[in-house]
């Protein structure tokens, strides 16, 4: 026995010595954020691992953030998220009818391998974006271009029919199907960038999915940065592109994008000095940051609307009075103050006011008396006899369930209706949504285009994203009038008419608009938030705060 302990003691001693040495060896080291300041390297939380860095096979916003560093379009977005600045195009003209856009490319723009960026590179990029073989989810962005939709949906196989042309190496011309005042700003989107065809052809062809052309060393870019490292689920590194035509404007030497799937782990990494910028802030930490270091908490509204979708083809929500009653029973201000607490603001219109520069009056309101009256008219006074319905909630967003429970309580209090909550795994919920096997559901839309028309399309008969299954000829006509409007006042009136009809018929009941919270280290200079969540990486640098 004593012998056993005699052996055990030296082992313990050795372990303790090792531990001490280890501890002495590490000490408090220079953090990543500190070394970043020295090397002008920005460390950014980028939410999750990009499926691919191909801009045309996915609609992932996190891929877009990286493309904003790697590829430059005809035009680019200023820090405010609204002003459009020259990119590869140095100037452009818009025809008086607003349907022809002509871009003139600058001569100094080159790819990172030295090839010049030509008009044909842009046409090739747009063609690939609309290629039905690749099937990009975001292809609807170009539906304003003449016959683009026909090409995507196979009604024409010839891209020459589509209103995108390169009359010479320095000119790109777009012919639109209708007047789309948002078109210029749309061209700043990360999907709509030029394509370096030789490198795609080298790795399996232009219309191939999953080619290796997006790997470091293969990816030829024309933006302020080049891709130098991609370790899946670990880091993506981009470094300054010395061949970028405006390299003098670029302050950072490198950006390291980290997939930070777990927001709690991301916040700990931020506190340990590993990240300059986080993608989000855990719900439970927002108030603490707002109190202790408000300057590091950057909160900004984003173009994400959260609403209730009613299945308009099935009872009980095939009756507009029932839908309106449920919509009027939502106390949005109370919800924002007591449940969302800095993560959302009350939504009194379907499209967020300010989208595309359009202002809306509040179309929706909290009106318990009117709600009860409508429900009684529909045959359910005080909720009596109302069938048992479940509110379907997808589990991906943590807020969804908390909001659903608050709504459940409001509908019970105001209408006397007992609603169940059916919480389901995200893809199961999507399947329920597509097969329209729900009664009503917690729905949302992330806008890719900064214009109301993108979200208003969700009310059009037969649209693949018309989750409510709603069909109203008056609305279809109003939506058509948005696109055919000859001038701005007519367009504004048509948009307001759409909003009005959604408020009256309530296929969708707006609940709240999302707010994005991020943590930004004090050494980051030039950080900016804008509704489209686009970062101009060239505007950033690192410096010790004064």
């Amino acid at each position: 026995m004593t012998l056993f302990l005699r052996v055990a003691t030296p082992v313990t001693a050795a372990t303790l010595t090792c531990a001490t040495l280890l501890v002495a060896g590490c000490g408090r080291r220079e953090t990543t954020v500190e070394s970043g300041l020295r090397t002008q390297t920005l460390h950014v939380g980028n939410q999750s691992e990009p499926p691919d860095l191909d801009p045309h096979t996915n609609n992932s916003s996190i891929v877009g953030y990286i493309h904003d560093a790697l590829l430059e379009g005809l035009v680019r977005l200023a820090k405010d998220g609204a002003t459009v600045l020259p990119g590869v195009a140095e100037r452009w003209e818009i025809s008086p009818d607003g349907r022809t856009y002509t871009f003139h490319l600058r001569t100094g723009a080159v790819w990172s391998n030295g090839d010049p960026v030509t008009a044909e590179d842009f046409v090739a990029g747009f063609r690939r974006f609309l290629d039905p073989k690749l099937g990009c989810e975001a292809a609807n962005f170009l539906f304003s271009v003449e016959r683009a939709r026909d090409f995507l949906e196979g009604r024409t196989k010839d891209f020459a029919d589509v209103g995108i042309k390169a009359p010479d190496a320095r000119t790109v011309v777009f012919r639109l199907a209708f007047r789309a005042p948002y078109f210029l700003a749309l061209l700043t989107d990360s999907h709509l960038r030029p394509l370096h065809r030789p490198s795609l052809e080298k790795f399996g062809g232009v219309d191939r999915r999953g080619g290796k052309w997006t790997q470091p060393g293969n990816f030829v870019t024309n933006g302020p940065f080049v891709l130098t490292e991609w370790k899946p689920h670990t880091v993506i590194v981009v470094t300054k592109n010395s061949r970028y035509w405006d390299a003098a404007r670029v302050g950072l030497e490198a950006i390291r994008f980290y997939p930070t799937e777990d927001s709690a782990a991301e916040e700990r990494a931020y506190r340990a000095g590993q990240l300059h910028v986080t993608m989000e802030v855990p719900q439970s930490k927002i108030e603490a940051y707002a109190r202790s270091v408000p300057s590091e908490l950057r909160s900004a509204p984003v173009l994400r609307s959260n609403f209730v979708s009613f299945s308009t083809q099935r009872p009980p929500f095939n009756d507009a009075r029932v839908r309106r009653a449920f919509a009027l029973a939502i106390d949005r201000e109370r919800l924002a103050a007591s449940v969302l607490k800095g993560r959302g603001e009350p939504a009194f219109s379907y499209v967020r006011p300010g989208t595309g520069g359009y202002a809306f009056p509040p179309f929706h309101r909290f009106d318990p008396a009117e709600a009860r009256k409508l429900l009684a008219e529909a045959g359910f006074p005080g909720g009596a006899g109302f069938p048992k319905v479940d509110y379907a909630v997808g589990s991906r967003n943590q807020d969804n369930l908390a909001v659903a429970q608050a709504l459940q309580e409001m509908w019970h209090q105001t209408l006397g209706v007992k609603v169940g909550i059916a919480s389901m795994e995200f893809k199961v919920w999507l399947d329920v949504l597509r097969t329209k096997t729900f009664a009503f559901t917690a729905d949302n839309w992330n806008m890719g285009i900064n214009d109301p028309s993108e979200m208003l399309a969700l009310g059009v008969t037969g649209d693949p994203n018309n989750d409510a299954g709603w069909s109203d000829p008056r609305y279809d006509a109003a939506f058509a009038a948005v696109n055919s409007a000859p001038d701005e006042p007519a367009r504004r009136a048509a948009i307001a008419r759409c909003e009005q009809l959604i408020a009256e018929e309530a296929p969708y009941a707006p609940v709240y608009f999302s707010i994005q919270n991020r943590l930004v280290h004090p050494t980051v200079v030039g950080w900016h938030n804008n509704p489209l969540q686009k970062t101009d990486w060239t505007a950033l640098s690192l410096a010790r705060p004064k």
Partner: protein
């Protein structure tokens, strides 16, 4: 012995085939598919996507195609990550999980067997109580509590380590400790139990009577039998520890296979789900077979019965 191993091997192959078949068909009955995305695409585009991956063929045809390429060692393309194959993903991620697992397992074995033996030898003393308390605490406190606590103290407060990531040798320390502690606890409990049983047996008394030192009695005579329960536990435990821990990999943002295992199911990445299931099933079967062989070697009783 050879006959025993051969028959067990054939049984395992059959079980693996059943696992593959069941997983393949169950996946297809789950609502939602790999291309079900937040923004719906037109039916035309969906058809193109499905045709690209052969999902438009009849299900039995897809199943046969899959088995065919599987026999050639090809696990297919990933649906979620179009520019990577399942083979590439597994080859990329398994070494990470295995490295973490090996470190954690070493720690768990040293700590678990050491504490368990001490507790059994010093039964019903403060040594035993301390070791048992550690065992109970280790089993009851989940890693998602221990992990962030250690990060809070060692990474954020003291600044010795990164809070997350898998970049340098120092990044191995915290996750290995958290994962190791979780396995050390049951190992120490099992060791204590096994040792207590063995220490009361006649052959131990004989060894003592013959004048063997206590150290020799414990290490040479008792441990061999006392570790049998630990060995049975280690089969599935090693398979679990080597194929990664979803929780640890999430807390520490480690690029291991454990997260793929879970996320591939959420993404309906059919081929990646199958690839990780096959990996896990094959590993469990191989390790269980190994455990049986080791047990036969360690325990004359089992050997004789076989």
């Amino acid at each position: 012995m050879l006959r025993f191993i051969t028959s067990r091997f054939l049984q395992s192959l059959l079980a693996l085939f059943l696992v593959i078949t069941a997983t393949f068909f169950m996946l297809r009955f789950v609502p939602g598919g790999p291309f079900t995305a937040e923004k719906a695409v037109t039916p035309e585009i969906l058809r193109n996507l499905e045709a690209h991956y052969g999902l438009n063929k009849p299900l039995w045809q897809q199943y046969l195609d899959y088995l065919g390429s599987l026999l050639q060692g090809d696990l297919g393309p990933s649906f979620k990550y179009p520019n990577r194959t399942v083979n590439e993903i597994i080859a990329d991620k398994v070494p990470v999980s295995a490295e973490l697992g090996a470190l954690a397992l070493s720690l768990a074995l040293i700590l678990g067997i050491g504490l368990g033996t001490l507790a059994a030898v010093r039964r019903n003393t403060w040594v035993d109580y301390t070791a048992s308390t550690f065992g109970m605490a280790g089993i009851s406190i989940p890693t998602f509590v221990v992990g962030p606590l250690l990060v809070l103290f060692f990474a954020i407060h003291l600044g010795w380590f990164n809070a997350s990531g898998w970049y340098g040798p120092l990044d191995r320390v915290l996750p290995s400790i958290v994962l190791g502690l979780a396995y050390a606890a049951p190992i120490s409990r099992l060791t204590r139990g096994g040792m207590l049983e063995v220490l009361n047996q006649d052959f131990i008394r004989t060894a003592r009577a013959k004048g063997a030192s206590e150290f020799r009695v414990v290490t040479r005579h008792a441990l061999r039998g006392g570790l049998l329960p630990v060995i049975s536990y280690l089969g599935p435990a090693v398979a679990g520890i080597l194929t990664g821990s979803f929780v640890i990999e999430t807390i520490f943002q480690i690029p291991g296979i454990g997260r793929e295992f879970v996320n591939s199911a959420f993404n309906r990445d059919y081929t990646l789900v199958l690839g990780t299931v096959i990996l896990y099933a094959a590993l469990i079967m191989a390790l269980n077979l190994l455990v049986d062989v080791v047990q036969a070697w360690l325990n004359p009783k089992v050997r004789l019965e076989a």
